[in-house]
């Protein structure tokens, strides 16, 4: 690992470079990648920087291979990651569903582009469903949605630690804007912020639970329903137990609000700015941003709703992918009044959100 002094610095770089530097700082051992825009520069920077520090890079023949080679290296006890976008995220679902079943701590950075299909190489928030629930299973994944370069750095580091601590495949969900733009951030040595070495170990020979034998034979297929049910039941219990420790969110505002604006990722950043400005102008508007999309900070959202009179505006660059998670979480609270600003594959500014808030409050 690089010396702390080299890591402690301000930087003005693209989000893709931030991810590569964060993975290096975290102590990741290898990256398996396949080109797709807008994540390519993660590979480019990793390829230039990582081998000098004894880390590995391999360009694979496709995303399936990138995902499965990452799995192989993880089984060998190495902290490994890949990065992808759009149709690549679709192909990654196959290895990720295996990682989910076998509790393999694979880390994948997704820089969302427009969809469905090839669509645009630019930007969207349309890969939420895929990263949260894309496999043929129950979505036992950890998903961090970042809204700034600082968060890309922080959560890429954190992703490796949480993946290995809890043994769920883990995503850092960015987007094409975050990938390509430059902005300032603070680089640092993770050890000085409480993140020591990644708690990795070879999967073969490791012991999962008390009284269990070291793992020697690993499979993801089962002969009978009951066998699957027993294994999956344990994973579901682990996930439910871990969820309260994993959920993260940001809230701005207070009791007596007239409206709660909910957004994630870079749209969350626009929403925060709109809410700040309106609050400064005396409007009682609140802001909620889930940082973990899986598990979703449901209880925190219900508290925010309570403080906001049950009126919600959901804004996202997708057609209600976040909206569904919000509705699901809010169902236990009651029946909020919904307003939506859905622009699939198109950016949303603070001005767009401010205008929508004004209309919502007037209505």
């Amino acid at each position: 690992m690089a010396k702390a002094a080299e890591l402690e610095s301000r930087a003005f770089i693209t989000g893709n470079e931030v991810v590569a530097r964060a993975a290096l700082a975290a102590g990741a051992d290898c990256m398996f990648g396949y080109p797709i825009t807008p994540q390519n520069e993660i590979m480019h920077h990793w390829r230039r920087l990582a081998p000098q520090q004894g880390r590995l890079f391999m360009q694979t023949e496709d995303e399936l291979s990138a995902g499965f080679a990452t799995i192989g290296a993880v089984i060998g006890g190495k902290a490994c990651f890949s990065a992808t976008a759009g149709p690549g995220t679709v192909l990654f679902q196959e290895p990720l569903s295996m990682a989910e079943m076998m509790r393999l701590p694979v880390v994948v950075v997704v820089q969302q582009r427009g969809g469905p299909s090839t669509a645009t190489v630019i930007y969207s928030q349309q890969e939420l469903n895929l990263v949260c629930f894309g496999g043929n299973g129950e979505g036992l994944r950890l998903v961090y949605s970042t809204g700034s370069h600082q968060e890309l750095y922080d959560y890429t580091i954190k992703a490796f630690h949480m993946a290995w601590r809890y043994r769920f495949p883990t995503f850092v969900l960015g987007d094409g804007y975050q990938a390509k733009m430059r902005e300032p951030l603070q680089l640092y040595d993770p050890a000085e912020r409480g993140f020591g070495p990644i708690p990795k170990e070879p999967i073969f020979g490791s012991v999962r639970g008390e009284g269990e034998k070291p793992l020697l034979h690993l499979r993801n297929s089962f002969s009978v329903e009951e066998e699957l049910s027993e294994v999956l039941g344990r994973h579901l219990e682990d996930y439910a137990r871990a969820a309260p420790e994993l959920v993260e969110h940001e809230f701005l505002g207070g009791a007596g609000g007239e409206l709660l604006v909910v957004a994630h990722g870079i749209v969350g950043r626009a929403a925060r700015q709109a809410v700040r400005e309106l609050r400064a102008a005396g409007r009682r508007v609140n802001f909620f941003r889930p940082i973990t999309l899986r598990p979703f900070p449901e209880e925190a959202l219900r508290q925010a709703l309570e403080m906001s009179g049950g009126a919600v505006l959901v804004a996202e660059s997708a057609q209600g992918q976040l909206g569904k998670l919000v509705r699901l979480a809010a169902a236990e609270w009651g029946r909020p009044r919904y307003r939506t600003l859905y622009r699939p594959g198109v950016g949303i500014t603070a001005e767009d959100i401010a205008a929508e808030i004004e209309e919502a409050i007037l209505a």
Partner: protein
């Protein structure tokens, strides 16, 4: 099977194995086990199997065994080998996994000369799923998806793996086709494949095998199909690497 004839590295707790009576997988895995025993590699091998019938080998040996997805055995072993070069990686698959859904991985691993030993069992059908046509189904052979016999005009010709790889593999790679009709010879080919990995090169061994369940053959007809029909089209033996010869 007597205790003496069972390879040392076979996991006795998972025996008798789960393959159908008359299936060739047990013989391929016996040859593989004997090869690993003779080379003394038991402590270093990691074995990965595909899905399809090969998945039934997920706990076959006393060394680490891993069941992957259809066609993805090779990339998993490539990743493991890159991360842990001291291990000996065996990627075990069927003909559908290696020659259809995972062919890009097989070709790419051969091109890159990844130091792994890939073992492909060719029984001319998708067996676990109920006997559909595989890339290796012989012309005229009846399967569930070629009920009147495989027709070249409709489906093309059967796929010859080692011969195809000979055009792309590294000159030092090892390519061979063995058969469960000659288990000791197959064992020696597997040994050479493992040794080639130890020397840092790619190795691929196709093993001609039997599937009486889906062929719907009795013992005599099963053996005749293997030794006559299959072996005359898929010639057993080592296959020379042609790539690089033009340099």
């Amino acid at each position: 099977m007597s205790e003496l004839s069972m390879p040392r590295c076979w996991n006795r707790e998972s025996k008798p194995h789960r393959f159908c009576p008359g299936c060739g997988h047990g013989l391929v895995l016996k040859a593989l086990g004997l090869a690993i025993d003779e080379l003394g590699l038991e402590e270093r091998v990691v074995f990965a199997c595909d899905i399809g019938c090969s998945l039934l080998a997920w706990d076959f040996f006393t060394f680490p065994c891993l069941q992957t997805h259809h066609g993805r055995t090779i990339p998993v072993m490539v990743g493991l080998k890159r991360a842990r070069p001291e291990l000996v990686a065996v990627a075990y698959m069927g003909d559908g996994g290696g020659y259809a859904i995972g062919l890009q991985h097989l070709v790419s691993a051969a091109l890159r000369d990844d130091p792994i030993t890939a073992v492909l069992v060719n029984n001319t059908v998708y067996a676990m799923t109920g006997g559909q046509m595989a890339p290796t189904t012989l012309l005229g052979q009846k399967t569930e998806t070629t009920p009147f016999g495989r027709d070249e005009a409709e489906t093309g010709r059967p796929f010859k793996g080692p011969e195809t790889l000979s055009a792309v593999a590294h000159p030092q790679a090892y390519l061979a086709r063995g058969t469960v009709a000659q288990v000791l010879r197959l064992k020696n080919e597997l040994k050479r494949g493992l040794e080639r990995q130890l020397q840092g090169h790619f190795a691929f061994i196709e093993a001609l095998s039997t599937c009486p369940t889906n062929w719907r053959t009795n013992a005599a007809a099963t053996w005749a199909f293997l030794e006559q029909d299959m072996s005359s089209f898929y010639r057993p033996g080592e296959v020379a690497v042609m790539a690089g010869k033009e340099d």
